[in-house]
């Protein structure tokens, strides 16, 4: 394997044409894994290795690396134009990176897309449906395309119809379906061959609350069955609820990655702390202001709210200090920040 510097030089001297890309990719495809990343017990089902993608002078994706294991739901968050769709399309074999490689179940989506396609389901942003077909015909076609024949095909279509709840409208023309139903049909298409990996690009976009909840349940159910799911969405609360891992991407760069709790904790160097005292509120606030990491102190009756620069250890130390100074603390809590707060803090809103 060539060293990474040499690879970098090759990467940036080449452009996005298929032959050059593949030449640059050659050395890192199927090479030992990169040193940074997650600690893993099992082989990841999705593995993105240092992907770069340029469209002319615009860099859509820059040094993107992450992994998703079987049964995990990985949420991809980012503003419009952040590079989410491009990254997903690269994984789905529809786009080529300028440099880097993406592996699905250990197979390169750049060099061996034909092997990757059978084990992956992709639901793009657009519907991609044939309006003059019935739901059952549509699923039947894709089951055939994925090589399912005879009873296996019929069983796969019936199972998919039941799973997506489309069995009641199976013979209805796609032209007459609502947006939510079309979204379900697209999900059905993506899972009809029981893939090991599912990539969903903005699946909840434009759906009503009920349809969103149902879609979320379907995704959770698939993950429970061992499918590795990569999902992007603008609705962050939804991702927070269903994702095991979250990656925040902006201007093609992965800014943060980890579980929702990790990201919420790691991203905050300053946390909001709220405490309530029985008495001596004024004295306590004076004492608190003398502490080195405390700022933004506000007093409302017996309630004190402050900003504490530091981690959970600093928080614990502050509480210990209050108790040692004989202040009667009856409530002490650090306020949880939502994923939206974290997203707003990490991203700058810059669009490429």
């Amino acid at each position: 394997m060539e060293n990474e510097d040499a690879l970098d030089k090759r990467a940036f001297s080449s452009t996005s044409t298929p032959a050059n890309i593949s030449a640059a990719v050659e050395a890192i495809a199927y090479a030992p894994k990169f040193s940074h990343g997650f600690h893993q017990e099992t082989t990841p089902m999705i593995e993105v290795r240092r992907i770069y993608r340029w469209f002319g002078s615009t860099q859509a994706v820059s040094d993107l690396s992450f992994e998703v294991k079987a049964g995990q739901v990985f949420g991809f968050i980012g503003p419009n134009g952040a590079g989410k769709t491009t990254s997903m399309r690269i994984l789905a074999t529809l786009e080529l990176p300028t440099y880097g490689d993406a592996l699905i179940d250990g197979l390169s989506s750049i060099n061996d897309p034909d092997l990757v396609r059978g084990r992956m389901g992709f639901m793009p942003d657009g519907f991609g449906t044939y309006p003059n077909m019935d739901c059952v015909e549509y699923l039947d076609f894709f089951a055939r395309a994925y090589g399912l024949v005879g009873k296996d095909r019929i069983a796969a279509v019936k199972r998919t119809l039941a799973f997506t709840g489309l069995d009641k409208i199976a013979s209805k023309s796609i032209r007459g379906l609502s947006k939510g139903m079309r979204q379900r049909l697209c999900l059905g298409r993506a899972i009809v061959h029981q893939p090991k990996v599912l990539i969903l690009d903005e699946p909840a976009n434009g759906l009503d609350p009920r349809a969103r909840i149902e879609l979320r349940q379907l995704i959770k159910q698939l993950a429970q069955e061992g499918v590795a799911v990569l999902v992007s969405s603008h609705i962050l609360t939804e991702l927070a609820e269903m994702c095991d891992q979250v990656g925040i991407i902006e201007r093609g760069k992965l800014l943060a990655v980890g579980s929702v709790q990790e990201i919420q904790g790691a991203s905050s160097t300053v946390r909001e702390v709220r405490l309530k005292l029985i008495a001596k509120v004024h004295e306590a606030s004076q004492w608190l202001l003398q502490q080195p990491h405390v700022s933004n102190l506000r007093v409302e009756g017996s309630l004190i709210t402050l900003s504490l620069a530091g981690d959970v250890a600093a928080q614990s130390q502050l509480l210990r200090g209050l108790v040692q100074c004989d202040f009667d603390v009856i409530e002490f809590a650090s306020m949880e920040r939502s994923l939206e707060d974290v997203f707003m803090q990490i991203t700058t809103g810059a669009v490429q």
Binding site: T15, Y30, P113, G150, I154
Partner: protein, 580 residues
């Protein structure tokens, strides 16, 4: 009382809604069962048969048979058939009872068949491919394990099925024309084959055009070009078929008719090889970027070239056979010599056009081979020496074209010489200078190919490092060079003459049409051929210097994970094979 009745009516409404929902649900469940399992023996048989067909064929047949375009075209065709039959029969009465009337009826039916087969179906195939891009279904289609070749051939098959319906609708009419006398079954068969081959060719071109513009930048232009092309081709095929019908009924001599029939079948067969080439090109246009499509296209191009050469040999054999002289022995030697020379020059030009068209795409290729393609490169020394020219890359493509062209030209020229010299009578009439004439054409064509294609390649290698528009750029450069060679030398010759009239000079060899005319009348000036050879050698030499990049690439083994996966596929295929 009122409250009770309201409550009862609400309950009734709920029950009605529930039963309606239940009945709808039952209806859909029944329909699903019918669609998937089939509700009759024929349905079940068709569903099982569908498992053996291309999924695209099944899907598109379902779609097209439901489409209004098909329904309307079929209905209008039936009305037109009935109208024409009634009109033709009624206007022929009473002559129809004692005079052959099949020919005129056939010409009308041919016209009726050409419209759907050569205009409607090719445009429908084109729209089907473009529709995938417009509706956003192309991505989901490519995501399936269906190969690009399967997608294109599936769409081709659907178009053929549609055409088949129109042919079937007219089949009884053709039987009637035969019964009415005036046309032989061979004439009818040849007419149908001509329409079928033209339709097939147009469908393939439509699929290629539909695949090329994936960015949808020239969609309107391509759509208009497609419509114009199909209408133009329909008129051409109608003209050719009608003249063919008249020719077949006019020709009295058996040998001439046999020659005509042989040429027709040879051309039809050859046209079908071009359909395959176009399908391969369309598959490459929508296929995986990492896959090597170039080598297949190259070998197919060579196969066509060899086939053309074989047909040429058969033609020469025919000229020397008693069949050509109506069973009266060998044809007159002078006629034989002229016939062969004309055939040689014709075959040289056809070969040159064939390789120029393929060559411009080969020399415009990028010279970097993807890792996936490297897995199937020739590995042994002998393989590398002989087969490396089939590897993707502009340099190998350039050499491949020149090697193929040289082999075919030399073989055709020697075949021509061999056949002429083998005839004792022919030797008496053997004219050295005239026979060398066809050789001069071969050298000129080879020189033009080497120079113009080589110059295009050099420009692309030196000035265009990469980019997705290399093919378009290559074609544009070739046209620029050919036009510059034609008009530049014409201007130079006019400018250098004292009385402002162009005379053929040694440098006018760059002018392809003028040189062809001059060579045809043995008026080429001394030095023109020599200068072309010199330029060709220089261009080939310069290209040779930049060729190494394409040749140093060596075969790599497939990664273990891929080998593991492929071995699984092989095992499962063996398990499924009942003969294994």
């Amino acid at each position: 009382m009122t409250a009770v009745s309201n409550s009862l009516s609400e309950k009734n409404r709920d029950i009605a809604e529930a039963s309606s929902l239940a009945s709808q649900s039952n209806f859909h469940a029944e329909t699903t069962k019918r669609l998937l399992d089939g509700d009759s023996a024929v349905d079940r048989w068709l569903i099982r048969a569908g498992d053996w067909c291309s999924p695209i064929l099944v899907k598109e047949t379902r779609q097209s048979l439901k489409s209004r375009q098909f329904q309307w075209t079929f209905m209008l065709l039936m009305i037109a058939i009935a109208t024409w039959t009634l009109f033709a029969v009624l206007t022929s009465i009473p002559a129809i009872y004692f005079e052959p009337a099949g020919k005129y009826l056939l010409i009308g039916y041919i016209f009726l068949l050409i419209i759907p087969a050569c205009v409607v179906v090719p445009n429908a195939a084109f729209r089907s491919m473009v529709g995938e891009l417009e509706q956003g279904t192309f991505d989901v289609l490519t995501l399936s394990p269906l190969s690009s070749f399967q997608i294109v051939t599936g769409k081709l098959a659907v178009a053929c099925v549609q055409s088949g319906f129109y042919f079937a609708a007219l089949a009884p009419c053709f039987a009637v024309t035969y019964l009415l006398r005036g046309v032989t079954w061979m004439t009818i068969l040849m007419s149908l084959i001509a329409i079928g081959v033209c339709s097939l060719m147009e469908i393939a071109i439509g699929l290629l055009l539909g695949s090329l513009d994936r960015a949808r930048r020239f969609s309107t232009l391509i759509s208009i070009a497609m419509i114009v092309m199909t209408i133009g081709a329909a008129f051409c095929v109608y003209g050719l078929t009608t003249s063919g019908i008249f020719e077949m009924t006019r020709v009295g001599v058996d040998s001439e008719r046999r020659f005509y029939i042989a040429c027709f079948f040879a051309f039809s067969f050859f046209a079908i090889t071009y359909v395959v080439l176009i399908v391969l090109a369309a598959s490459a246009a929508i296929g995986m970027a990492s896959e090597n499509y170039s080598t297949t296209i190259r070998w197919w191009g060579l196969f066509q070239s060899v086939l053309m050469f074989g047909l040429f040999g058969a033609f020469i054999g025919f000229l020397r056979s008693p069949l050509a002289a109506n069973g009266q022995g060998a044809v007159n030697s002078l006629e034989l010599q002229r016939g062969m020379e004309q055939a040689s020059v014709f075959i040289f030009f056809v070969q040159a056009i064939h390789w120029a068209a393929l060559g411009i795409f080969f020399v415009s290729e990028q010279g970097v081979i993807t890792p996936r393609s490297r897995r199937s490169l020739p590995s042994t020394l002998l393989q590398r020496i002989f087969l490396s020219w089939g590897n993707p890359g502009s340099g190998t493509g350039y050499v491949f074209v020149l090697l193929c062209l040289s082999s075919v030209f030399l073989s055709a020229y020697f075949l021509e010489q061999l056949f002429v010299l083998s005839g004792s009578e022919a030797q008496l009439f053997w004219n050295q200078s005239r026979l060398v004439g066809s050789g001069v054409f071969a050298i000129m064509l080879w020189g033009w190919m080497a120079s113009y294609l080589g110059l295009v390649r050099l420009c692309l290698v030196c000035f265009v490092k990469n980019g997705s528009n290399r093919m378009t750029l290559g074609i544009t450069l070739l046209l620029i060079f050919v036009f510059a060679g034609t008009f530049g030398t014409l201007y130079l010759s006019t400018w250098s003459s004292s009385n402002n009239t162009a005379s053929y000079e040694w440098y006018s060899i760059a002018n392809i049409p003028w040189s062809t005319i001059e060579a045809g009348s043995d008026n080429l000036v001394i030095g023109s051929i020599e200068s072309l050879i010199c330029v060709s050698i220089v261009v080939i030499g310069l290209n040779w210097l930049t060729l190494s990049r394409d040749l140093v690439v060596v075969r790599v083994a497939a990664p273990p994970r891929v080998r593991q996966e492929l071995s699984k596929t092989e095992i499962s295929e063996e398990a499924l094979d009942p003969l294994a």
